[in-house]
C-alpha cells in the first residue's frame, strides 16, 4: 500500500455504487425534453433567418425595380424632349 502504483490499482478496484434508477430515468427524460426544445428553438431560429433573408432579397429586388422604373421614366422623358 506504500507504493503509488499499487495504491492506484487498489483504487481502481473500488466497488461501484449504482445511482437511483428511478431518478436516473427521470433525468434522462428531462434531458430528452430539453434536447427536443433546443432542436425546436434552433429550427425556429433557422426559419426566422430564412424569412429575414427572403425579405431582404425581396426588398432588394423591389428597390432595383423602382430604380429601373425611375431610370426608364427619365429616359422616356428625355426621348420625348421633355
Amino acid at each position: 500500500m506504500t507504493r503509488g502504483d499499487s495504491l492506484l490499482d487498489v483504487l481502481a478496484g473500488l466497488p461501484e455504487w449504482s445511482p437511483n434508477r428511478r431518478r436516473e430515468h427521470a433525468v434522462r427524460m428531462r434531458c430528452h425534453e430539453e434536447l427536443r426544445h433546443c432542436a425546436e428553438r434552433r429550427t425556429r431560429a433557422a426559419q426566422r433567418r430564412r424569412l429575414v433573408g427572403w425579405c431582404f432579397d425581396a426588398s432588394a429586388a423591389l428597390g432595383a425595380c423602382a430604380y429601373a422604373a425611375i431610370v426608364l421614366h427619365a429616359a422616356i422623358r428625355y426621348a420625348l424632349g421633355g
Binding site: 500500500m1 503509488g4 495504491l7 478496484g13 473500488l14 445511482p19 437511483n20 430539453e34 434536447l35
Partner: protein, 201 residues
Amino acid sequence: MTLSRIVWRCVISEMDREVELSLVRRLRDADTGAFDQIYNTFNTRLYNFLARLSGSRDVAEDLVEETWLRLVSASATLDLDTRIAPWLFTVGRNLYVSYCRSRGREQSYTSDFLLLWPDRLSPSPFDRASANESEVRLNAALAALPVKYREALLLVGVEGLRPAEAAAVCGISPEAFRQRLSRARALISEQWCHHMKEATL
C-alpha cells in the same frame, strides 16, 4: 465485479475517438440517441466520482442531474473536438465547488488538513453487507482526505483519466497536478496505515 469494471473503464478511456467525435456531432444536432449513448457510458462514473468527492449520495445525485442539464443546454455550442469525459468531470467538479461555496464550505475545500465532514457517506445496510472490510477502510481513508487530494486520486485512480486531462478538470497545470497526486498518494497511504493500526488494535 472488479474485473468487469476495470475492463469497462479501459473501454471508456480508450473510447474510439471517431465514435466520440460522431457522438459530439450528433449531440450538437440534438440527437437523443447520441445523448443516451453518452448518458449510459458516463452516468454511473460521474455519480461515483461526485458521491466520493462530496461524501453524500444525495448531493451527488443533484450534481449529476445538473451536469447532464448543462451538457444538454451547451450541446449546440460544443466544439466539434470536445472530449466528453473531461468535459463532464470538469462541469461536475465545478458544480461541486460552487455547491461548497454556497454552503460556506470554502474552508474545507482549501484546507490542507484533515477536517470534519458531516456529509460523509453513510453506507446502507446492503453496502455494509456486500462491502468487504478493506473496501470500507479504503473508502474511509479516501473520505478523510482533503477534497483537492481526493479529487486527484478519484480522477486518476478510480476514473482512469490521464493526468493531463485530470489537471485540466482541476484547472491546474499538469506539473502542479503531478505534485498534488503524489501528495495525495502519500496522504492516503498514511490514512490507510492509520486505519490498519486501528483495525489491529
